[in-house]
Symmetry: C2
Subunit: 333 residues, 2 copies
Amino acid sequence: MKALVYTDTLEVQYRDEPNPPADSNEALIQLEAVGICGSDMHAYHGHDARRVPPLILGHEAVGKVMNGSQEGKRVVLNPLITCGVCEHCLGGRSNLCAHRELIGMKRPGAFADYINIPEQNLLEMPQDMDSVTAALTEPVATSLHAIYLAEKIIHRPLSESRALVIGGGSIGVFAALILKHKGCGDIYLGDTNPLRRETAESLDICTVYNPIGDDVPEAGSFDLVIDAVGSGRTRASSSAMVKAGGIISHVGLQDNEAGLDTRRLTLEEITFLGNYTYSVLDLKASIDLLYQGALGSLDWVETRALGEGAAAFRDIHEGKAASPKIVLIPEVA
Amino acid sequence: MKALVYTDTLEVQYRDEPNPPADSNEALIQLEAVGICGSDMHAYHGHDARRVPPLILGHEAVGKVMNGSQEGKRVVLNPLITCGVCEHCLGGRSNLCAHRELIGMKRPGAFADYINIPEQNLLEMPQDMDSVTAALTEPVATSLHAIYLAEKIIHRPLSESRALVIGGGSIGVFAALILKHKGCGDIYLGDTNPLRRETAESLDICTVYNPIGDDVPEAGSFDLVIDAVGSGRTRASSSAMVKAGGIISHVGLQDNEAGLDTRRLTLEEITFLGNYTYSVLDLKASIDLLYQGALGSLDWVETRALGEGAAAFRDIHEGKAASPKIVLIPEVA
């Protein structure tokens, strides 16, 4: 089969790879569409010790089942493989399973014609759902999960809250779209990349600003700050922008530098929520949201052939990709 | 009147001070008992920019009303003076009021024979309640508030949880006692001071250990970590000790150094809760807990004369005070 393989820092190659082993007791999926995630880019930059080349990246995937009880069905993949029996899995928080494994991290990922994955990781989807839309399930679920955790503890409802999203990548954009869907009418989004700001502005759901420009919103004014970057700088910014008694929802994993102002967090009783991926219920809810069109027109999502994946990685790396989400389409699809 | 005045770094003096102004429209209180708080020590060390000498410190106070509609009544003081009309005050979170002021910070504190305080800051107490016990209301409320915030979001009840308290000062000890009262049966408490460890051990409610010794409990095993120190080191320790999906309740304000592992907090979906003081309801609940004896024998609390306050500050500073709480008794009481 063909696959896009991460071979070295700043290098991915579209090349022939062996098909997934046929003697596996897992489902074989012929892939239809697979999104490029920020964490794939992190690996590409050589910054993710967990992803060692050569490795097929990619985990935001939709495809057709080629064997077993669900043969012929189109499915969304839950890329997080978990044990199913630990206290976290049994408690509805399988994302915290100590044995969790993401496809495209140690196991081969989905930037390929085919992939093997356990049957329990196949999620039902409407059979007439568009592939590219369905491939957005995973990033939408990441944003939805973060907002869900914040929503459970926020003092007043989201529909009465003022929210700031830091970072106009796909997690940030989906977070803004979900906040809007939930009735939040006072949303800001900050990004230093002018192309990203342009895309965010075109959605017409939030006030877009440049964090290093002169139109930065008032400090201490946001009930909820979603940090979809996760750097020392954005944590410092989150600490300053959030209101007394408010919430910082921390989704990004850019670095582990200092930046969080724990003194202000303490004196102003601010909550910092760590977020990692999603539960299975978040994934299912995201398929529903996307299928219903609740997140509006998704024409800002860009589609390219998997065979041109290397150029896509390069464009994102060089800040030349206006769209915060590029979905790659394998030739077999 | 006599008062204990913070005059310089590492210096408090028991001396004559003018009585509180008689033309005030506030209540005049003749003080019965006033505890020394960690934040008083912080000022004494010259580390609190908010407390500028010369200043009468002290805010954990109980006394008798000398004027107005409640004349003759014994009351606990709510030392936090708030506006009463902002969104935080109206929303039950007066501790977040932007106009809040603590006695003994800019206004004179309670290490004195008398103090003025707004009538709305007087809390009813059982008239036969012991003064020293009643003076514990404020620190108990601080611990109770932190546990209440954690309890609202913890995944399983406290009675099924494993809890770690970092710091055997009064906030840490009260936190352990409150956890025990709420049915938590698996409590650890860490302190580097051997005298503090001895006192904590004497309570017989938790496993006491030395964080820089060789009996440190297993990392990643605590549903709830209460950091009652709040230093870079204890935040690093909190980050390591808390379980995936668990809670760090951050109460201490020792420094603002780096230490929190925001990467682990994100990957393991850990919540960091900033805590500041208490609500009026927390104070009322704390009076009830103390009066009912729900926190066990309080014979570990030490009492000294206000006139010997300077020695008490010195003993705490030098790590020679075995008791995590010293309550000072004015001569007029």
